[in-house]
Subunit: 436 residues, 2 copies
Amino acid sequence: MQHHIAEPVSLESTRNETSELQRLCRDLALRARDAAGHLASLTRAKKDQWLLRTAEAIEQHAAKLILANQKDIEAAPSYGLTPAAIDRLRVTPQRVHAAADGLRQVASLPDPIGQVREGSVRPNGLQVQKVSVPLGVIFFLYESRPNVTVDAAALCVKSGNAVILRGGKEAHHSNCTIQALLQDTLTECDLPRDAVQMVPTLDRDAVGQLLNLGDLIDLVIPRGGESLIRRVAREATMPVLKHYQGNCHVYVDRVADLDMAERIVINAKCQRPGVCNAMESLLVHADIAKSFLPRVAASLRAHHVELRGCPETRRLIPDARPASDADYAAEFLDLILSIKVVPDLDAAISHVNRYGSRHTDAIVTNDLAAARRFTTEVDSAAVLVNASTRFNDGFELGLGAEIGISTDKFHARGPCGLQELTTYKYVVVGDGQVRE
Amino acid sequence: MQHHIAEPVSLESTRNETSELQRLCRDLALRARDAAGHLASLTRAKKDQWLLRTAEAIEQHAAKLILANQKDIEAAPSYGLTPAAIDRLRVTPQRVHAAADGLRQVASLPDPIGQVREGSVRPNGLQVQKVSVPLGVIFFLYESRPNVTVDAAALCVKSGNAVILRGGKEAHHSNCTIQALLQDTLTECDLPRDAVQMVPTLDRDAVGQLLNLGDLIDLVIPRGGESLIRRVAREATMPVLKHYQGNCHVYVDRVADLDMAERIVINAKCQRPGVCNAMESLLVHADIAKSFLPRVAASLRAHHVELRGCPETRRLIPDARPASDADYAAEFLDLILSIKVVPDLDAAISHVNRYGSRHTDAIVTNDLAAARRFTTEVDSAAVLVNASTRFNDGFELGLGAEIGISTDKFHARGPCGLQELTTYKYVVVGDGQVRE
C-alpha cells in the first residue's frame, strides 16, 4: 500500500532534475500570474456563479470524492497517522455537504474587490480613492483535511486571487480529485483553469522552489504544524500570513462573576481542546482563588482535564501537579491546563505578555478599569472581556469565513477572511492638475 | 579630515567583537521594546506636547545644529559626495525652520492610535471592534538629509512606535546632535528617552545584527539607494516597507486634450527629475503622435531633456536617440526621457505592466472607458487620470506626511503616513458568551 501515490521518479536531486523542477515551479507560478490578471477584473456575478456551480458539482460527485478519499484512508496507517488524524482526513457525505454549504456561504459574502476604503477631494480638485484590489497569486500549504482545499480555493477566487495549492501527501488522492473538479467548473463557467492549481509533484523541494519565487507569488499561507510554518517563514521570499502557536489565557479578576468565569473556563478549555484558540493557561486573582479554584477544578476534572499549578494553586487543589515554566509556555492542544494564582492585574498582564503567543487572551471581570487596562496592555491579536477565547474565529467575529489566523502585526492580525486577501491602489482623477 | 568621525576601534570582527556588537544591538532593541510599551498608551496630548516642544527646541538650537552640520560638510568631499549631495546634506536656518514646521504639522494630524476601524455587534451580543494600535519598534535606515531624522522620529512617536535610527555616515555629526536634542525633549516631556535611539556605531555589521532581530523589531524601513534597499530586503527577518524604483509612465491617449497632456508631461518630467515619482517614460497613441510629439519635444528640449525613442518616435522627432529595452526599463532620475508610440490602449497597458515598477502611472484622456480600463488594469500603487505623476506623495494625497512609499502589496501600498505605521487588534466585549 505504501507505493501507490505518484512520486517523482527519483528523490535525488541532480543538477538537471533541480532545474527541471525549477522550470516546472516557475511555469506554475507564471500561469497563476496570468490567471490572476483575469481574475482581478471579474464581476462578483461571475465569481459567485462559479462558487454556486462548484457547490452543486461536488454534491453531484460526492461518490467519486469518497472513493478517491478511500485510497488515502487505506494508505493512512503507512504514514503513521493517528486515529484522530485519520478521522480528520475522512470524506463523508456530511462533509461533502458541509463543503458545498461553505461555497454557498462564500458566494453570499460581499465582493471585497473594488470597495472604496477611503476617498476625498483634495484642495486642488484631485479626486483621491483608495480602492481594494486582489493581492495576485497566493501559495497555500496545508495538512490533512481535504475540505480545506475547497475553502481555500473559494476564498482566493472570490477575492480575485489565483491560488497554488499544496496539501499533505496523506490527502493526495482526495485533493487531486477535488482540484480536477474545481478546474472543470472553472472551465465550465468560462474562468481561467489556472485560477486554482495544485503543485503537481510531492517532491518536497518543490516547496522550496516556490518559496523562492517572490517575484511571481504575492503571499504564502502555511497552515499546519509549527515545524512546517517555521520552514516556510525561514525560506519564503514573499510575505507570509501565519501563526505559530495559540497559547491562550483566561484571567479571572478579583471582581468577577464566578459562575460566568466557570462557564467561560470550561468552554475555552474543553469545547474543542485541539484548536489554536482553546485556553492553555488559567490565571486567577489571589483574592478569589480560594472560592473559585476548588469549584472550577471539580468541574474541569469532570471534563477529564489534567491540572498543573503554582504552589498556591496546589494548596487549594491538592491533586494538581506542579507547573513548570515550560508548562506556562506550552500550547498543549490537549486536555491539560496550567494554572497560576496572581497577586493583581499587573502580574496577570505581564504573565500573558511574557508567556503568551499574542493570539487570544481573555479577562473575566466586572471592573471597567481592569477591562480597559487588560484590553489595552495585552499585546495579542484578540483580547476578550467576559467571553470565551474560542470566539477568535473568522465566522464568530463576523468575517464570514477565514483562511487562517495571523499573530503577526503586518497587514493582517487575527482571523483573515476575504478582506485580508486584498490590498489597495490609489486611483486619482484630475482635470489637468500639475505640481507647483 | 577623514578620521574625525567616531568609528569602532577595529573593523575586523573577531568572535568576541561580534558577540559584543550582537549584545549592543540586542540591548538597543530591548530598550526600544520597553519604550514602545509606554508609547502605546500615551494620550495624543502627551505626544503632541513633545512634538511642539521639539519644534521650539530645534529652532532655539539652530546655531548648534548648523555648527555640527559644518563638520559633516567639511568631511563630505572625502566621502566622494557630489555637489548636489552636499547641498542635500547641508543644514541651513531655512531648513531648521522647515523641520520645525514639519513637527508642528505632525502634531496637528489626528492620532492614528485607538481609532475604531470597524465595529459591530454579533447576533449573540458580542461587541466586536478592530482598534488601531502601534506596530511596536521600527528600524529606520536612511541616507544624507538630516531633516529626515526629525521627520522619522516625529511620525514614529506620534503613531506610538519606538524608533531606532540609522543615518548615513556622511551625516553622522548632524544626526548625533539632532538625536541628542530629541532625547532631551523626550525627557523634558516625561516620555521614555529610548523612544528615539540611534545606532551608536557606524560599524556596518550592526545593520546586519539588527536585521536579525525579528523577535524584537516589528518593521524595517530602508530609504536610500537601491543597493541599500536590496541588502535590507535580503537580510531582514522582519517585514520591510520599501520601494526599489520609480519607473513611472505617462500615457497620452487618442482622445486627449493635448495642451493638458503637454503641461502634465513637462511637470512630471521636469519639476523635480531626481525623485521617485518623476516620469521616466512617455507613451503616445499612434493617432495623435504626429500632432503631439513634435510640440512636446520642443517643450522638453527647452527644459534640456534628452529624448530616446522608438523608430516611429524618431521619424517624428529626428534628433531623438534610439531607445533600447534597457532605456524603457530604466529609472533615469535625470533629465532623460524614453518615448514610445503605441498602437492602442492595450499596448500601453502591457508596456506599463511589463517595464514599470508598480509605482506611479498616469493616463491623459477624455475617454471614460479608457480611463476606467487603465486604472483597473495597470497594477501600480497609484494610477492617475489627467494629473501629474508627481502627486503620488503623502502630503499631496492627503496623508499629511509620509515616511516612505511602498510598491509592495502587503500591509501598505503607495505613500505611507501615520496610519500605515499602525496595526490593529480585535477587542471583544461580552457578558458571559461561550461557544456552542
